[in-house]
């Protein structure tokens, strides 16, 4: 018995929560977490349906029987939670030594079960707060797994509900002690105002904190998510496969043209992810989202590179590859020209949304790859290829070692000073028969640039000034050199022409360079912290070799900072651009978006201030009107020799005036009504009535004075 009593004491829920509003707010918060899990399709169907059905019933029962000591129910729930925990541990068993990220889904299910079971017994405030915290943790689990902004409205709902629950809970506590409004109407009104006011303060504070916080980042402390929904080996191991190119797929044969279902190039297919890059080709990919990248900062997502230029096309001089085998992570050895120094880890996880090439995208230079297949191929230029097709849903993580490169470092590591090793020079200084004016232009533009780095920047600047970026360019005439045509004839082009021209001009100056293809970082989603890469972000750029540093990317059209100069990324990085993208088209720049947002905020602020001014004015008007009436009454009294005495109340004064020669009893009642009106808050109808009454009193007084004057004149006469 003593043990039972002790158990009862330990499990006592405290005072039952009487506030339906608090309970309802917590219920909304819990359900929003459940729906967030369901929307992201994270937990299983059974537990999700159970949650949607059981939690509302549980909250109702908890409220209905909140005063009861339900020890049996508590014991049952404890047993059920134990079963859930055992099941969870059982689910972990097969994952041992495997992908740790696979724990996340069972973990989410555990949280959901906890919500379901806990909802059956939430009689007191403490239980409700636990539910609130548990729903917050559930959102955290969803947040880890969510790749999109689907959960945004539900998170917003949770924040509103949680704030409401906390504010109302506290107000209820205070109400129990003292004297805030307890009448239903007044209570609703003041509570709603308090929630709105605090919600606003909280929103502004959270926004400020969000702006100040550093961006989420990945670390090497944990294993990374990997996934391969469908394992389908490429036809030629080590070879390039790109189903999105349809017939242009390097691995495509007539017999299996239908294997991917894409016969012609997909709208999101990029012709650069092929065995060759023909700069005379036209047609850019559309805005289809091809992948999301979770990375600590922006970088070029490099796919592959080309080293041999023939005047119109880029190819790879050596397509042979070596096999990299092993368990995760697969260790990637350096290749020709790579820096051997250990750089800073840069972890990028790629979530593919569309079928694409079997190249492994990465920031330069990859050193480890977490990949669901145990085999990769590495080409001589460092390009990594999978042995399987990479379709939608494929996930892999690449750890790159980035040199903390700055402009000063690149100026010091000058290949023209330290010389270029033969293996690099042989491949990356090669040029076809190129018109002399291209060489002359390169020499002319870089005449005043002291270092290779400055030469690169000078060439970039020249192209930015003298050529135009355009996706709508004329076809390259047959037999024309693409670079010569771009620089001197068309003087407009897109990344392939621009990148190629930079490489060719640098090679003409003796600087080793090559053309890389891949994607620019894409738009950073400030909420998910992921870079959303669209097909139109497919890009070609120049890579320049620097002794001791390795290959460094340069591009005159994409703003990607040097690794050593990128600085710390803030959590809100990209927020302005993200909003700008979703604002009407008249907003073109981030600054304009900022101005529009500032304008909206200012208007909202002005609205609030305006409402306050109007309210204050109304109060002041009431006070002024009162004083005005008092003054008129005093003037009336003074005219008939009855000035107001010091310390005399208005009612007393009115009474005295009424007994004066004026003999107007309405003055006394007017003074009383005026006092009542002033101290009762000033009703508008009554105000009009008072206006009329003082006017009538004054008119009667005027008439009386006129009569008296006339009488005096008559008497004198």
């Amino acid at each position: 018995m003593r043990v039972l009593e002790a158990l009862k004491r330990a499990n006592a829920s405290g005072a039952p929560e009487e506030s339906v509003a608090v309970r309802l707010a917590v219920f909304v918060a819990v359900m929003s977490a459940v729906f967030a899990l369901a929307a992201e399709d994270i937990a299983g169907t059974v537990v999700t349906v159970a949650a949607i059905l059981v939690i509302p019933v549980g909250f109702y029962i908890s409220h209905r029987y909140r005063a009861n000591d339900q020890l049996a129910l508590k014991a049952g729930l404890a047993v059920a939670l134990l079963v859930v925990l055992v099941n969870f541990l059982g689910a972990l068993g097969p994952l041992a030594g495997g992908d740790i990220t696979a724990v996340q889904v069972p973990l989410a299910e555990v949280f959901l079960w906890v919500q379901v079971l806990h909802a059956l017994h939430v009689p007191g405030r403490r239980d409700l707060v636990f539910g609130l915290v548990a729903s917050g943790v559930t959102f955290a689990v969803v947040g880890v797994l969510s790749l999109s902004i689907t959960m945004a409205p539900l998170l917003l709902l949770w924040i509103v509900a949680a704030t409401t629950a906390l504010v109302l809970g506290h107000r209820d506590d205070v109400r129990a002690v003292g004297a805030i409004a307890t009448e239903k109407q007044a209570r609703l009104s003041t509570d709603a105002k308090a929630v709105a006011r605090i919600g606003g303060v909280l929103a502004v504070t959270a926004a400020v904190v969000f702006v100040l916080l550093p961006a989420a980042s990945t670390s090497r402390a944990l294993a990374f998510p990997i996934n391969l929904p469908k394992i389908e080996s490429v036809a030629s191991p080590g070879g390039l496969s790109n189903p999105s190119l349809g017939q242009g797929d390097p691995q495509q044969t007539s017999s299996d043209s239908d294997s991917t279902g894409i016969e012609s190039r997909a709208s999101f297919g990029y012709f650069g992810f092929a065995g060759q890059l023909d700069t005379s080709l036209r047609g850019r990919p559309d805005d289809t989202l091809v992948m999301r990248v979770r990375a600590p900062g922006p970088d070029f997502w490099r796919g592959q590179s080309f080293d041999t230029w023939d005047g119109t096309r880029w190819t790879l001089s050596d397509d042979s590859s070596r096999t990299i085998l092993g368990d995760n992570p697969l260790v990637i050895p350096p290749t020709n020209g790579d820096a051997l120094a250990v750089g800073q880890d840069f972890v990028a996880t790629f979530y593919l949304e569309r079928p694409g090439p079997n190249v492994i995208f990465s920031a330069a230079r990859p050193v480890e790859v977490y990949f669901p297949d145990a085999r990769l191929f590495q080409l001589r230029d460092g390009t990594l290829r999978a042995a399987v097709d990479l379709g939608a849903g494929a996930v892999y993580t690449v750890v790159s070692s980035r040199q903390p490169v700055t402009a000063d470092l690149l100026r010091q590591a000058d290949p023209l000073v330290y010389g270029v090793p033969a293996p690099i020079a042989d491949v990356y200084l090669q040029l076809p028969d190129t018109p002399q004016r291209v060489f002359d232009l390169a020499a002319d533009v870089t005449r005043d640039a002291p270092t290779t780095y400055d030469k690169v920047r000078a060439l970039e600047a020249w192209m930015a000034t003298n050529t135009t970026y355009s996706l709508d360019i004329p076809t390259l005439p047959a037999g024309e050199d693409a670079v010569d045509h771009y620089l001197f004839e068309a003087q407009q082009g897109f990344c392939e022409q621009i990148g190629t021209s930079l490489v060719v001009m640098l090679r003409s100056l003796g600087v080793p360079a090559r053309l890389a293809v891949g994607y620019i970082p894409g738009e950073r989603n400030p909420f998910t912290g992921m870079y959303e890469v669209r097909a139109s972000d497919a890009h070609a750029w120049a890579e320049v070799w620097f002794p001791g540093v390795g290959w460094q990317s340069f591009d005159p059209t994409a703003k990607v900072p040097l690794a050593g100069e990128s600085g710390r990324l803030a959590a809100a990085a990209g927020l302005i651009d993200w909003i700008q993208e979703r604002l009407p088209s008249f907003v073109d720049t981030g600054m304009e978006a900022l101005i529009v947002l500032g304008g909206v905020a200012a208007l909202a602020g002005l609205g609030v201030v305006g409402v306050r001014i109007i309210a204050a004015h109304k109060r002041k008007r009431n006070r002024d009107r009162y004083e005005q009436h008092v003054w008129r009454l005093e003037r009336l009294g003074a005219r008939c020799g009855r000035s107001r005495r010091s310390g005399e109340t208005l009612i007393e004064y009115g009474r005295r005036l009424a007994e004066s020669p004026l003999r107007d009893s309405d003055i006394s009642s007017f003074a009383t009504d005026l006092t009542d009106w002033q101290f009762s808050g000033g009703d508008a109808t009554e105000e009009r009535s008072l206006d009329d009454r003082i006017r009538r009193i004054e008119r009667r007084h005027r008439d009386l004075r006129s009569t008296m004057t006339a009488l005096r004149v008559t008497l004198r006469g």
């Binding site: 107000r171 003292g178 904190v209 916080l213």
Partner: protein, 322 residues
């Protein structure tokens, strides 16, 4: 019946005396939320999940607002207090407290218990003063934990009252057992002079129950029937109540209460009553004109010996002591 004031008659006095010191008492929930925020931040730094940063921002904002607003609330709070002139121990007393800013719960030692207000507000606070005394200023501890109850910020404000608030003792019902035999007759009424003294106004026949000492033996012997004297009331009647407080607060209040009870009875009987007490200024010998007057004198009474009247004359002197 609580006293009702017009809010516009409130006089505002600047608060002082340590008003700037704010004491903070964080609740356990703050540490819980902080731990949650740290855990989420750690997770965001290892998983790269941007949503976690948003959750961290929300939780940090929650803590920041929950910790900052109570401090701002109590620091900005200003009070004006309107108090009645008189109150009685053990009976409800209502104060009007006006707070311009800050959600507050007021702790008023006068009431010896916590009472509440949430501002900005002008409202009444009712409480029961447990002890007798004169309050020229009122200490109000304002407590604010709005909006979430994460942290309790307190600040003591001392507000000078326009008029001192006298908390009088409760007038106690008196009896012989209170040691007031000389002052009360058999019915417990104040004795208006000695019953066997004074001028004989008339002689009447004896009725059963008449005191034997009022029998006029000479006239009885002369007339043969038992005749009793009817005395004229004493010409000069005065009750002097000497309240000599001692002991602890309860004992003092008991003595004061008995003295007040006696004074009230005297006044009801139409007798002039003097109340002798010791106040901070010395011995106070006042002729009381109303129970409220007596209550104020006794509210201000302090422990100490009070001299007795030397020339009693036709006065009834009652010393109320422990």
């Amino acid at each position: 019946m609580p006293v009702v004031w017009s809010t516009r008659s409130l006089q505002r006095f600047p608060s002082h005396s340590g008003g700037a010191v704010v004491k903070l008492r964080p609740k356990r929930a703050v540490w819980l939320l902080l731990a949650l925020a740290l855990a989420m931040y750690g997770a965001s730094r290892t998983t790269g999940a941007g949503w976690l940063v948003i959750l961290v921002a929300v939780v940090v904002a929650l803590i920041a607002v929950g910790v900052a607003l109570p401090v701002v609330g109590v620091r900005r709070a200003s009070l004006a207090v309107a108090a009645p002139r008189d109150a009685t121990t053990g009976r409800p007393c209502t104060l009007t407290i006006e707070s311009e800013r800050g959600a507050i719960v007021a702790d008023i030692p006068l009431f010896d218990s916590r009472t509440g207000l949430v501002g900005p507000v002008c409202g009444t606070v009712s409480g029961v003063p447990p002890y007798r005394g004169v309050f020229e200023r009122l200490q109000v501890t304002i407590v604010c934990s709005a909006p979430f109850g994460l942290l309790e910020a307190t600040r003591d404000l001392v507000v000078q009252l326009a008029n001192p608030l006298s908390v009088a003792p409760q007038a106690l019902v008196l009896g012989h057992r209170d040691g007031l035999d000389d002052a009360l007759d058999q019915d417990g009424n104040i004795v208006r002079g000695r019953a066997d003294e004074g001028t004989v106004a008339a002689l009447t026949e004896y009725h059963p129950g008449d005191p034997l000492r009022r029998v006029h033996w000479a006239a009885t012997a002369k007339h043969g029937d038992l005749l009793v004297k009817q005395l004229e009331p004493p010409v000069s009647q005065r009750l002097v109540v000497v309240a000599e407080l001692s002991g602890g607060p309860y004992e003092q209040d008991d003595i004061a209460g008995r003295a007040l009870g006696l004074v009230v009875r005297g006044l009801r009987a139409g007798i002039a009553v003097d109340l002798w007490t010791r106040s901070l200024q010395g011995i106070d010998r006042s002729t009381v004109d109303s129970p409220i007057h007596a209550g104020r004198l006794l509210a201000a009474a302090v422990v100490g010996r009070v001299a007795r009247p030397s020339d009693v004359g036709d006065m009834t002197v009652v010393v109320v002591e422990a």
